[in-house]
Symmetry: C2
Subunit: 482 residues, 2 copies
């Protein structure tokens, strides 16, 4: 279960390249009720090197992880800040990194964790934005610094939503790889895995998905045979001891499924770090190790797969074993799982024709697992739809949704223009929020175009903002109703 972690650690080679000050702002634990009037310190990173004091604020709406990771992996924002004279701010999402509402107790149980929600996070960001806009003259908003929100993945969803919900505080949003349609009833549950299959297909010339499809029964057979697990651990060089809350079979299969996802999401045209260092186009590298002629020989098939997995976790050749226990320290997987159990319920399944084992979306089982793990089942699987409008976002404005079509999350993204001011940008050969990363000479043209588009959009918003505020008192309004 919980095999789909929406965001992931993209430590790139520029670690430490970006300079910022680390600050904290005291924000309310609960923005919508008064039963709990506690506050806590929210972390944010700030850089004013390029800031023209009348310039915009580039505000990254942090997602489920340590905010420093996102600051280090969103080079695009840093690269364009100078041109726009922008203040750069990366705000950390509550319950991740160092932004803990109840200190050490924050993750203990539901009574503490319960204030973790996207709505509360958005309100934190608005609170911070209001604080950053030094001139708080609410009667004349024209003198406030305009804010452009940026975010990737869940952070991209937050960037889009903060513009929709708080347009007075956020002028526009660049929402990269933001699957805001990945909720119940909006996108077929098999779409994610269908796209994954397709990525593995186009990245190989050996029918890679077919080989992977064949590996599942082989794996099940080995894992259920005497000493089979032992053989697999040894052949795949898995680190010992294996620690698992579930059975080792389930752990291995879930881990493997996750690897396929992660390889596709980080299928960048250059070597990058994604949980572990990866080569350029890792899916292609992975598939190259598999041999179509071995599919009917269980031993050879799984040995090939073991070799291929070295691409994922031992690209540098320095790892002595594949650690399937490991979870990263920077991405709060458990915390995200809580969100996935409460409001971020994203149905997933695998169809007959994909490279995975066929598996239906089983909400009953999902609920039971959530209940067992966190003491709360997903009481309101439609909550995010009610809060953010599902597919009906035509009233929104000033949002660019960008999606790499090599990214399995693109299936839940906004892939068509919604209106002249809510645009969809497709990056055919892009993986997960590649456009937010820093420039690389191996970047495909499509991502370079996307980044240009983002800048044009921001320029357009800023220009309109200025014009509107100048004209505000002399505006001649046409009558639509008479």
């Amino acid at each position: 279960m919980f095999k789909f972690i929406l965001v992931f650690l993209l430590i790139n080679c520029n670690y430490g390249k970006y300079l910022y000050q680390t600050k904290f702002l005291s924000v309310p634990v609960d923005h919508f009720s008064f039963a709990n009037n506690a506050s806590f310190k929210l972390r944010y990173l700030i850089n004013d090197t390029y800031w023209d004091s009348n310039g915009p604020i580039f505000f990254y709406t942090g997602n489920e992880g340590n905010i420093t990771v996102f600051a280090e992996n969103s080079g695009f924002i840093w690269e364009i800040a100078d041109t726009f004279g922008a203040l750069i701010v990366f705000a950390e999402h509550r319950y991740y990194g160092e932004s803990m509402p109840f200190g050490n107790k924050s993750l203990i149980n539901n009574s503490y964790l319960g204030y973790l929600s996207s709505s509360q996070a958005l309100a934190d960001y608005v609170y911070l934005i209001d604080y950053l806009q030094s001139n708080k003259n609410y009667a004349d908003y024209s003198i406030r610094n305009p804010v452009v929100a940026f975010g990737g993945s869940y952070g991209g969803m937050l960037a889009a939503w903060i513009r929709m919900k708080y347009p007075a505080f956020v002028l526009g949003a660049i929402a990269s790889s933001a699957p805001i349609y990945q909720f119940q009833g909006l996108t077929p549950c098999e779409t994610y895995n269908d796209i994954l299959t397709s990525v593995y297909n186009v990245s190989s010339n050996n029918n890679c998905p077919y080989i992977i499809k064949k590996s599942w029964p082989a794996l099940r057979q080995v894992l259920s045979s005497p000493n089979g697990t032992e053989w697999l651990i040894s052949t795949w060089k898995l680190c010992r001891p294996i620690q698992s809350k579930e059975s080792i079979d389930t752990l291995i299969i879930d881990w493997l499924t996750n690897v396929y996802s992660n390889l596709a999401m980080a299928n960048y045209p250059y070597p990058a770090n994604f949980l572990a260092p990866l080569p350029a186009y890792p899916v292609k590298e992975f598939c190259r190790k598999l041999k179509l002629e071995n599919i009917n020989n269980i031993t050879l098939l799984l040995t090939d797969l073991g070799n291929a997995l070295q691409v994922y976790s031992n690209f540098t050749g320095k790892s002595e074993c594949l650690n399937i226990n490991s979870s990263t320290s920077d991405i709060g997987e458990d915390v995200w799982d809580y969100q996935a159990c409460t409001e971020m319920v994203m149905p997933m399944c695998s169809g007959k024709f994909g490279m995975f084992e066929e598996e239906r979306w089983n909400f009953t089982k999902y609920s039971a697992d959530c209940e067992k793990r966190f003491g709360v089942p997903p009481i309101r699987p439609d909550l995010a739809i009610l809060e953010y409008g599902g597919k009906d976002i035509k009233s929104a404005s000033n949002i660019v949704f960008s999606n790499g079509l090599m990214d399995p999350w693109s299936g839940g993204g906004v892939l068509q223009d919604v209106s002249p001011n809510v645009r969809a940008i497709l990056i055919p050969d892009g993986a997960h929020h590649l456009d937010l990363r820093s420039y690389n000479e191996l970047d495909p043209k499509s991502v370079i175009s996307a980044r240009k588009f983002h800048q044009q959009a921001i320029r357009h918003w800023l220009k309109t903002y200025k014009t509107e505020n100048l004209e505000l008192n002399s505006v001649n309004i046409q009558n639509n109703y008479a």
Copy 2:
């Protein structure tokens, strides 16, 4: 303190005229967090007599009182429902009437009262709307019944805000007498009382505000003299015993201030009930009893005032005394005061030139009073501005703000068109949300025009909604950024 109660009881002569079913829907106590997963029964009134199953839902976003009162006093909605083939729904605001989140305990203290906020109320309404839209196909919103929100006063603020925050669920809003700008820094604190003064001025030909201005020192003098209070109680025929949490002086002066407000808000062109029955144009009637020639004679001046007050509370001649202790059973004044102490902080003061005693807005005192009364000071006086955008509502659409210029709340209302789709309608001779009341042959032309405008706007929204949904898949989107 707390002398300004935003909404008021307008029991008109049609009581019992409108037929509805009373229903309850179980809704979450907290829509934004998961620490408290309780639910409670929200009351709503529903009438489907005129409903064409494809027709709109006319949804009254209930304000601070028993919802039956608003259903009985919003005749306009009932009168136009047939034309539009609309389902009529009046939803009750949590913590008022019968919609108590924690039953009898709901109002005990802050830990129960704490879930009272406009955000939670809006989320209740969206939850109910989603439930009422029988077809919950979120992927194709074109087949859902469009919703038009209506509301007066605080209910009008909620109607506007629900459209701003949840445009996927609410197509448009008629926000009558909705002072969404009555927050700190948006509107000068003396505006409300300045408008009141002006209403008393234009309603009289005897310089009524001047006489009232003169009455305050007279009143203070009498109240501080031996037996003066006793004389006043007897002369004004106040009911005994007088029960007051504050001193009797303060009670009398606060009550009187409130009377001036209420008379203006209910300054309708025909007899109506407002806390007590009132004649047509009650401000004029009130002022007629005052005599300019008596202003220098304390006894005569206050005796005149006592006579004038009979207009307010004894129009029918049936009351034996003026009950200044009474609070109505249907409007939850205490509950509203809690809202005024938490998020609905609306600064009020009186300037030198108005008919009131000069009084500054004293936030420190206000906070202390709130703390004493409810155990919570207004920690976040800007909360509503952050949540709803203050005066920056240019991203909104499909809202009509209507204001009667005889209504003191109009000063905090939207009096200028914001955009082609966010319109301001002025009703020069209208009092507080007169346009939502049923037709009366004494209605001024301006309110008849306003009601026509409302219907044109609704028709326009519904037409656009249909057109947009038909064209949705064939829309040709122009490029704003390239």
